[in-house]
């Protein structure tokens, strides 16, 4: 599922409600059948992988330590942990022999995001939250990661909530697109139907998709 909306429309807030970084002032957020208010926040968060816009890697840990953090918190033994780290790095297209010992500052933006994804998936959480994970990358790297992630997401079979303000990305990755405007859901559609929606905000996003080409032709 993709949460689409302009800056300030409440996308990130919605994600933070899901893993109880925020608690709702009114109403309830249900995760796996229980309200987040009833969940133990630590237990809840370890079942939910989170990928940040700027990766949010720990600068004092190596790539391997970053990826292995949640397994370590969950008290996996060392062998299982290092096997898992290796598996995860391969999954996101990083050679473990080359990257495991590096620190985040020794990585490019795209590599950092790959590590961020590997870290979020390390403890095999059933739910994955992604907050504009490719937003800060250059267009070429972004397209590369989007394509790879699209195929990865299909293989993973997890509940993924993906936040973006880019309709192109939403269409590429989403199986369901939820459009937010000023904190409210104004549309909820399959990607193939999204461009035909009548809501003004949906039309505005559809127009953003066409604008550059239209200008280029003129």
């Amino acid at each position: 599922m993709v949460l689409l909306g302009r800056s300030g429309s409440g996308k990130t807030t919605l994600l933070k409600l899901a893993n109880r970084l925020l608690l709702p002032k009114a109403g309830t957020v249900i995760v796996d059948g229980s309200s987040t208010a009833e969940w133990d926040p630590i237990q809840l968060r370890r079942r939910i992988g989170y990928v940040f816009q700027e990766a949010g890697l720990f600068p004092h840990y190596t790539v391997a330590e970053n990826v292995g953090l949640v397994p370590w918190l969950e008290r996996w033994d060392a062998q299982r942990r290092s096997d898992r780290v290796e598996e995860m790095l391969q999954l996101v297209g990083l050679d473990p022999r080359e990257f495991a010992g590096r620190h985040p500052r020794e990585l490019s933006g795209g590599q950092r995001q790959r590590v961020g994804v590997a870290r979020a998936l390390a403890a095999d959480p059933p739910i994955l939250l992604m907050d504009e994970p490719f937003g800060a990358l250059d267009p070429v790297t972004r397209a590369e990661l989007q394509r790879e992630f699209a195929s990865l997401a299909r293989r993973l079979q997890k509940t993924i909530v993906f936040v973006t303000h880019d309709l192109r990305e939403a269409l590429l990755l989403g199986t369901r697109i939820v459009l937010l405007e000023s904190g409210r859901i104004v549309a909820d559609a399959a990607p193939q139907d999204f461009l035909t929606l009548e809501h003004p905000e949906a039309k505005a996003f559809a127009a953003s998709l066409e604008a550059p080409q239209a200008q280029a032709i003129r």
Partner: protein, 210 residues
Amino acid sequence: MNAWSFFSGHRAEIASATLEHLVLVGISLAIAILIGVPTGMLIVRRPRLRGMALGFANVVQTIPSLALFGFLIPIPFLGGIGRRTAIVALVLYALLPILRNTFVGLTGIDPAVLEAAEAMGMTETQILWRVRLPLALSVIMAGIRTATVITIGVATIAAAIGAGGLGTFIFRGVAMVSDAVILAGAIPAALLALVADGALALLERRLRVI
């Protein structure tokens, strides 16, 4: 009297005073670190204690050092004439930079990193030990470095209450109106401060993460 001939004539005495000085500084710093760093960690999550602890350390820093040594003499258990009183005063002086830098280091961490730690399901305690502390280490080290230089300097005044150290030469030199004797205390003290500052600066750089 020529300073150089005084130096060479009193080598053994200067060496033992330097050692005494180092012991005084070493013990005081060790105690100040043992008090300052844990207190700094504690006040990250306790705003009321924070005001009290930082306020206390600040006030102590404003008391002139000679006066602080004097104030401590009549206090039972802590005070009196000699090394123990000097150590108490030196600890009090070293506390502020260590406490303040520990607090600033622990709280000055990129909020995105802290949020990531929280979102990954780390407990407050794990975040403190595994994220905040390692990232704050170089800032804490900078505080310890400041405290070391201050303590080496202030420790010369401890001779006024009979704690020994390089200050002995300085006070004796003042009484004798002899530059040579003053320099016999002042030069080794200055060298100690410079060497300690350089060595700790190196350590601080190695602990820096970003």
